[in-house]
Symmetry: D2
Amino acid sequence: MVVPAAVVKERLRGQRIETPSWAYGNSGTRFKVFAQPGVPRTVEEKIDDAAQVHAFTGVAPTVALHIPWDRADDYGRLAKYAESAGVRLGTINANVFQDDDYKLGSVTNPDRAIRRKALDHLLDCVDIMDRTGSRDLKLWFADGTNYPGQDDIRTRQDRLAEALVAVYERLGAHQRLLLEYKLFEPAFYTTDVPDWGTAYAHCLHLGDRAQVCVDTGHHAPGTNIEFIVAVLLRAGRLGAFDFNSRFYADDDLMVGAADPFQLFRIMAEVIRGGGLDPETGVAFMLDQCHNVEAKIPGQIRSVCNVQEATAKALLIDRDALTAAQYSGDVLAAHDVVMDAYHTDVRPMLAELRAEQGLDPDPVAAYRRSGYGERIAANRVGGTQAGWGA
Amino acid sequence: MVVPAAVVKERLRGQRIETPSWAYGNSGTRFKVFAQPGVPRTVEEKIDDAAQVHAFTGVAPTVALHIPWDRADDYGRLAKYAESAGVRLGTINANVFQDDDYKLGSVTNPDRAIRRKALDHLLDCVDIMDRTGSRDLKLWFADGTNYPGQDDIRTRQDRLAEALVAVYERLGAHQRLLLEYKLFEPAFYTTDVPDWGTAYAHCLHLGDRAQVCVDTGHHAPGTNIEFIVAVLLRAGRLGAFDFNSRFYADDDLMVGAADPFQLFRIMAEVIRGGGLDPETGVAFMLDQCHNVEAKIPGQIRSVCNVQEATAKALLIDRDALTAAQYSGDVLAAHDVVMDAYHTDVRPMLAELRAEQGLDPDPVAAYRRSGYGERIAANRVGGTQAGWGA
Amino acid sequence: MVVPAAVVKERLRGQRIETPSWAYGNSGTRFKVFAQPGVPRTVEEKIDDAAQVHAFTGVAPTVALHIPWDRADDYGRLAKYAESAGVRLGTINANVFQDDDYKLGSVTNPDRAIRRKALDHLLDCVDIMDRTGSRDLKLWFADGTNYPGQDDIRTRQDRLAEALVAVYERLGAHQRLLLEYKLFEPAFYTTDVPDWGTAYAHCLHLGDRAQVCVDTGHHAPGTNIEFIVAVLLRAGRLGAFDFNSRFYADDDLMVGAADPFQLFRIMAEVIRGGGLDPETGVAFMLDQCHNVEAKIPGQIRSVCNVQEATAKALLIDRDALTAAQYSGDVLAAHDVVMDAYHTDVRPMLAELRAEQGLDPDPVAAYRRSGYGERIAANRVGGTQAGWGA
Amino acid sequence: MVVPAAVVKERLRGQRIETPSWAYGNSGTRFKVFAQPGVPRTVEEKIDDAAQVHAFTGVAPTVALHIPWDRADDYGRLAKYAESAGVRLGTINANVFQDDDYKLGSVTNPDRAIRRKALDHLLDCVDIMDRTGSRDLKLWFADGTNYPGQDDIRTRQDRLAEALVAVYERLGAHQRLLLEYKLFEPAFYTTDVPDWGTAYAHCLHLGDRAQVCVDTGHHAPGTNIEFIVAVLLRAGRLGAFDFNSRFYADDDLMVGAADPFQLFRIMAEVIRGGGLDPETGVAFMLDQCHNVEAKIPGQIRSVCNVQEATAKALLIDRDALTAAQYSGDVLAAHDVVMDAYHTDVRPMLAELRAEQGLDPDPVAAYRRSGYGERIAANRVGGTQAGWGA
């Protein structure tokens, strides 16, 4: 039975996609960061840009912060600023990889004093969450080693576990710890949390409010990400996505740009496992680098890509699929899924937006708005935001 | 401080490496199985060949069986045959991937009757273990899907969990379930146990005697296997190795042939985590395909390769390593490891063998023995063993 | 400017997709070949099945043969049989990898007599081409080595070059040699033609009628296949495609099943480089293994997948794309391409088929036809075709 | 027959390994560049550091420059400075990836004026070569695209070819153009010279003095680099190596650190193809990033690693190898190679160094020299060199 458009639209109306403050700043590769005109100089300007994404899409009401890049004197005031701009502050992302002390690791560093410094920063982030009202603390550790022998793999796990326990114990009853994993980079031999299994094992040790964050670009070639999604949802441990896409390593391209079919499959497993239901608590976040494309429309396009993949996944005729699966008809089952994927959902999304008083084409509407030209003209002087600030 | 040769040799004396009955039969790729002269026709002939490997190396006293390839009318008699040949029966490997029924899966098949049939086979294998006196049941499932939509990922996990519980409950108090994972092949979209995290999660659910088996060829490109070894040992869940080596996919080349440095790093983590201590219970097994090279000397070479890697890993000056690691001297720490790796341990191993009354060069001794020529001359007629029997 | 449907349909009408005789026989992995009911026992039955694919799609008028799997006493009679069934004989695929002699290689074997035998087979294939009227000889060599040192890489290149020259000189003026490359399998260390660069270099050495065949499943992870297509078309050396799809290695899944966006990008480069123009001579062939899905509808689905990808690629607004590219607007240029990709072209293809007197839904029509049930009932006894025959 | 140590040492005495000026400056990842004490502030200080590497190894007499990082007012004077420090200026590396203009490419940029600017820089580099007396111009282009559609793949090839012709025509009769390829990074969808095939095809078009540069870290996972070496040597087109090592992507670790067996296999093919003979003109260069380890000893270690791999490769008993290969004894042939690899060549190298008046252990000797402490104390103030200068 064809899934009615009204049902699909109802589910889409409830979806929320968080954008990251750092997507509005400059980013690049180790070879070069190409600055773009109009890039924010302050966290407030980042929030202004995030508010644009929400204004045109209607589904991006929160913005994630990165500490210390987005450090503020008064987070209460910052939260109010955000609200006045039309958005709210979201996930707090801890950064323990840019101090010189962290060359050989942060919470897994052989030096106890450096570990303590890193832990203190993580605890500070929870303080900030208390003030911003954030639910989620996202932890990504750049920690690892470049050479066999450089440090002891197992001892580093012990150090990591110790730090995680300390952070977890500091969390409030409604706060969560999201542990992100990544195969490699910036470490090139071992990474202390390289895969979902390691993140999952640490979360199990911590407790229910420790959940795994799946960054779609952080896997070895060939890894089936939707399988991981299914397994984590089954275990009640999928906390969040960091969305982006890739052809090679952690390319951080716009989500859905490199492999839209994969994004669709991921969203299909999310829906299958109840991950789109608000009570499951799966957070959908973007984490991308707009190195060569314009940043605000890049975020808008990405939000739309997630919506389109979600819409297609919602179109899967679950009854027909189950029937075909149990009949052992491989082609028929596959066809049910492909039928949903091949559907052009853009008209439906345009309709949905019109119903919500939004322009049917958010990217085009943003381009017509003149915002990009205005910030390019007005944001003169100061220091453009980037990964260092 | 340099590790004394006597210490290294003492540890090496205690190491045991199991060879698989199927390594002595024909194997190949989907394109062609090239038959070799002298290949066994019966399980007894496979045992005879395995006994040769033990006779020349002194460290391969057991042979793993694959059921139904090695099905026997009387396993007690088979065990006695093995003993008379100079070896013992080891791990029982269950095979639920070669009946026509298993096209869409065994324990995860959508069809309940097929799942039951597969489970019954697994339970039969435990019966066999009771008769052979085997400690370990190794489970590798070829189950998975080839196309998105073919079957439901999560439901298959439920089915898998159900079967594993039934098998685990059937085990005797001194028996173990070893769950093996594999990224892909023969399934090309999803595999039901694709990575260590999935195997680990199922083992946790089962109990202490469920352990993970690491096949060194079953990972995505770039996966750091020694990290997995370290993490599993830390969690008390590393049950066994299936050793082989690879340049590309699951190539099943002789262990240590493709990346001897990786094998050394793996053995270094095994030792670091106590995995060489008999009480830890880590089983070292070969699982290889000698498609183009001679099989018995191929096994002998592989056993020697594991020994050499172990010897080098034992040579690591742990005190110097730890000191360098804590001093933050990356190069010095790396050098300690490389110094052990670059050492030519073959003279030490030759010495060890001589001390044990063995020929210092097992491959050369085997070649001189004339055994290969004898089996090529005598094993005429009958059906050569292969993956189908 | 939107590309008119009439223009797209006109181009689609001219496209031809060859199906391989072996796709109708049984196939599998090294672990198991699952037989399917109704599989052909003879080359004539394979041709009958291929004729079904053409009957329902209208664009698959030829069938490729694999020698010796499809060896016939009288190829002229076989050609007539094909014509009476509604198709023609197409590309001749030489097979020099299934004789016991070829364990260490065919045309690159260290043994001169085996090299000669392999070459003789290739020359025989040209004789067959003369009789079938085939234009193309496709050469894929399973040759390579499994272990460092097994054979001399460079000497094998010399042997390969010698054989290719001998074959090329034997070709008629209107015949072509298509050299296929593959990263690995069945060889697991070196492959004698592992990449497009090696195939290209040999073709350059031979002459204009030596062209490269791109099998979409034969690349290292991360390889950008459409780039290779663009470069080979620019050099005038893209001879043919072997279409299939993959998630991991050479999975041989249905083309477009694993990454439909990649297939679209490939077809976009084909069109950009003139490869869809008949005079360019690019041959579009399927080369897949329907291990778990039904074979004839699997081929029909695959043909449709190629058509859909082609239709989408034809929809790219080239003027808008070029304008965006020259303006440096990365997002706008990307959007032009994605706009074409996201279009649901199935209605247009249904229309095109109706215009040609075909059923708009070839898979459904085939299923309704009862052909599958008839062959399952009638093809009883005999030996089912597979990779060995 | 065992290869005599004297023969090996004689060949080693003739080997030269170039170090890059930028290895002495700071480097890092996109996440963070960790500064190290004592890093050079000027090109002269880089040369001083390079001279240390030569002083302790005796085989690194030249240093490669990167323009504009190493721009000088008077290259003649710089050359004299180098000579007075005990080294010579070597390969000139052109850099057309760090100006804001190059965001969408340099010689392949859609904007003609930017292409001209990039070409002018390349021609300037030839001017510099005339003054430094350098033989080789190494061209690595960061050019590519991040998104499908961003630019036209084929047109970019045309632009690239045009620039290369212009540079090649400007070269003096004894100068060479080395074209380097790289799979990805900083471009994440297409790279304009992604593989050896593309580099080779452009070199063929240019002429004999255009040669391919193989950077050992620039390949897709699973790529057999020694095969490429063999093929390029056979075609007379292997111009140079950029040595480094990797576990994942272009990690730029110390050569031989990640996979010493691969480095050995590469050197074995170099020797097999005559690439160690000075007249072949293969240049051996390091191109690494010492992100976390000390830089000068890191370079010394790397030079030693190349020497050790070369020594082992020279130890291969070629007669025994060939005999085993022709006899079809896979294991015996493999054993000949492994026998050389497993040999500990460090004593032989220590001997060689002693014969040349060098300390047998260059890293230890450097550490004892106090140079590292001196530069850390003296190089205060100024701006440390890095990838931006």
